[in-house]
């Protein structure tokens, strides 16, 4: 296995970790917060 094979596997691995992190975080947010609150933004409102 040469360096580029390792690089390819590393790329797959890092991509999988990042995507997994996003999905797990999104699921935990959905559990922790009320849906009405998460979708409560309104366009044009000044905050």
């Amino acid at each position: 296995m040469d360096f580029l094979d390792v690089l390819s596997y590393l790329a797959w691995g890092v991509a999988a970790i990042l995507l997994l992190w996003i999905v797990v975080d999104a699921l935990s947010v959905s559990k922790q917060y009320d849906e009405e609150f998460l979708m409560s933004s309104r366009e044009g409102e000044e905050h």
Binding site: L4, V14, A15, L19, A26, L38, E43, E45
Partner: protein
């Protein structure tokens, strides 16, 4: 976590963070586009020769200047995510808004896929140069999309700050190359007198080259998507967009000047990475490396901006229930449209895995062109419904209605140019949007809460 209290007591509302400044807007617009200077624009040379490409560069530059002026005025007033979708919703109506929203999502998602493909191909080329041919580009395509999606998920400030840095490096690399070719001494390095020819296919070739002239600027209108996240939309959007347009006009002209003076038009029209090829011809390894890195950065910046914009457009469609309201959610900590970002990842990867860069880009360009055509009508209606003085505008574009009329004429010419080269693609894309419109009218519009979607504190429009 900071939230805001709006309306009735105890009713907390969440919103996107207003943290962006004009430099971020510049980075978003130029970041999406600049990859077009490193590749793609040169196909216009194959259609119309080197001079034909230059004419396309400036004619399409005029088209995009009109786009930038119109966008700056409307967005400095309609300061909401969704950009042109939100403009269409307020000014034209729901069916137009749905279509424009779809143009935006398709254009940016496909462009992000194409950019990731470019990153993968560059990795393969780089490995081949280092003596390791046959590197599979797929893991790097997926890693590009995954990393940028993760970055976008974590917050807009860091996302666009990174875009600013890598876009600036890519732009500076063009300036460095321009200085390296010794532009003041014609014949020393540049050979324009020997290489420039008459129009090889006449004026019809020039018209045909308009389609690829769009690569010089495609995506600058994406600055509008950040309208809900800037500190001051009235200041940041016009400054960032118009500054970006000036940057692109300079970059496009320099790119044409460098490449047409070094590479014969017959080769230039088919080159994959013309600026990198131009640097290679100079025989300077450091310059070659700089242009390789800059090409990579430009592709990453473009994909980054596209993920940002596609997710904002999809989020806005969800928030107004034009698409499932589930996508209208904002992350309580990072304040990003996180569900929209996640949803578009597999779609971008799927487009990228088709490997059909040509078709993906053509669909993206045509979706953009449909959006620009709408803007000309939109602007005329906007000024009629809310004349100057009736609402606050952060920026007022000059010579109205001349830019709107010019935009419409140039869009029509570009449709004709596209029909000459990609007639079947044009017709199939039109058919796709017609079918989508029928679906929206018959099946989706009933879910839209009509009163809730108009939230701008504007007076009743003139004539209503």
């Amino acid at each position: 976590m900071s939230t805001t209290v709006a309306g009735e007591a105890n009713k907390q509302r969440i919103s996107m963070l207003k943290v962006l400044n004009p430099f971020h807007i510049w980075a978003l617009g130029v970041g999406i586009v600049l990859v077009g200077e490193f590749m793609g624009w040169n196909f216009s040379v194959a259609k119309g020769g080197a001079y034909g490409s230059l004419i396309a560069c400036w004619v399409i530059g005029l088209l995009y200047t009109c786009v930038a002026m119109i966008d700056s005025e409307v967005t400095s007033t309609v300061a909401a995510a969704g950009g042109q979708y939100t403009q269409a919703k307020h000014i034209i109506g729901p069916l137009m808004a749905f279509n424009v929203g779809l143009y935006l999502v398709m254009a940016y998602t496909m462009l992000a896929a194409a950019d990731a493909l470019v990153v993968g191909d560059l990795m393969t080329s780089g490995a081949a140069v280092m003596g390791h041919p046959g590197l599979d580009p797929k893991p790097f395509v997926v890693l590009t999309i995954a990393f940028l999606a993760w970055l976008n998920y974590r917050g807009v400030f860091m996302t666009l700050t990174l875009n600013f840095v890598i876009t600036l490096i890519a732009f500076v690399s063009i300036l460095v190359l321009f200085i390296a070719v010794d532009p003041l001494h014609q014949g020393a390095v540049l050979q324009h007198q020997a290489l420039l020819t008459d129009l090889p296919y006449g004026w019809i070739g020039v018209i045909a080259s308009l389609q690829f002239g769009m690569w010089y600027y495609l995506g600058i209108e994406g600055t509008c998507q950040a309208a809900e996240e800037v500190r001051s939309a009235g200041r940041a959007i016009p400054l960032g967009t118009m500054g970006g347009m000036i940057t692109l006009l300079v970059a496009a002209s320099l790119t044409w000047f460098i490449c047409s003076g070094l590479i014969p038009w017959q080769y230039l029209g088919q080159a994959t990475t013309p600026l990198y090829d131009a640097a290679s011809l100079l025989g300077n390894t450091k310059l070659q490396l700089l242009l390789f890195i800059a090409t990579m950065f430009a592709a990453i910046a473009s994909a980054n901006g596209c993920i940002n914009d596609a997710s904002r457009a999809w989020f806005s469609l969800g928030r107004d229930r034009y698409m499932p309201v589930f996508f209208g959610a904002i992350h309580p900590r990072y304040r990003t449209p996180y569900r929209s970002i996640i949803f578009l990842v597999p779609i971008a990867v799927a487009f990228a895995f088709t490997g059909l860069l040509d078709q993906v880009i053509t669909f993206s360009i045509l979706s953009g062109l449909l959006g620009y055509t709408f803007m000309s009508f939109n602007m005329v209606k906007f000024r009629k419904m809310w004349p100057l003085g009736s609402i606050h505008r952060g920026y007022i574009h000059p010579f109205h209605p001349l830019p709107a009329i010019t935009l419409f004429i140039l869009c029509s010419a570009t449709y004709f140019a596209t029909f000459l080269g990609y007639g079947s693609s044009l017709l199939s894309i039109m058919a796709f949007y017609i079918v989508a419109s029928i679906w929206f009218t018959l099946r989706r519009y009933k879910f839209v809460k009509r009163a809730d979607q108009f939230t701008m504190p504007w007076p009743r429009p003139k004539g209503y």
